[in-house]
Symmetry: C2
């Protein structure tokens, strides 16, 4: 299997969200065995449609749409599914090199303990400054 | 030292951001030795001003403002510092029980490897569904 991961960012008028998304995409690519592309909902390129098109030539036969969001909200539950034409089960498909490939939609991070631990670490760092 | 942590969420018209913030606040409180309160930038209560006021009676002598955001952006660099009256060094102060206490401002998560690992895990979970 040749899996693609479309790393989805919020987008921003400032550079920090793009830097975050590009670094996360690099670190995911370092896991190996996946083809990684990025896309943004707002204010940045590539758009989601353009991001999907960037899998052309990669031979992927499945794409995971991976929202880099902390929690579900209007962006993850309405905007992204609409732009990716996902069905009610949050599944969809697209054409890569003329072939139909499935899109599966990953969950946002949620209140995972590693998120809480990282938040606590950021608080400790602020106190140490 | 008796430290307060003000856990700052984006706020949302949907319940998921609030659930995230409240669970993260609980997990941070479980670390012990800190007084934890929550506040929201948009669409939710308490506001940041109300969140600070909720330290009254706790005896905290320092407050960490901890933004639960993935990256810096307009919210973390403009909106939150303005609402907390932080100076150019992102430090400030507030009154708790009539006493002046310092506010220090923590950084957002950034492209930490634990974030990239969690994103990769979410992609794997989506593929397994």
């Amino acid at each position: 299997m040749n899996t693609g991961i479309l790393v989805l960012g919020h987008g921003s008028s400032l550079p920090h969200n793009r830097e975050l998304i590009e670094k996360i995409a690099e670190m995911i690519a370092d896991h190996g065995n996946v083809v990684v592309r990025t896309a943004y909902l707002n204010m940045e390129k590539p758009t989601l449609e353009e991001g999907l098109a960037n899998f052309d030539g990669t031979g992927v036969d499945k794409i995971v749409a991976l929202p880099i969001f902390l929690a579900h909200g209007v962006h993850t539950l309405e905007d992204i599914p609409r732009e990716l034409n996902l069905d009610n089960d949050l599944k969809g498909s697209t054409k890569v090199d003329g072939k139909t490939v499935d899109i599966v939609y990953a969950a946002p991070f949620g209140a995972d303990p590693v998120i809480a631990d990282l938040a606590y670490q950021r608080a400790e760092e602020a106190l140490a400054r």
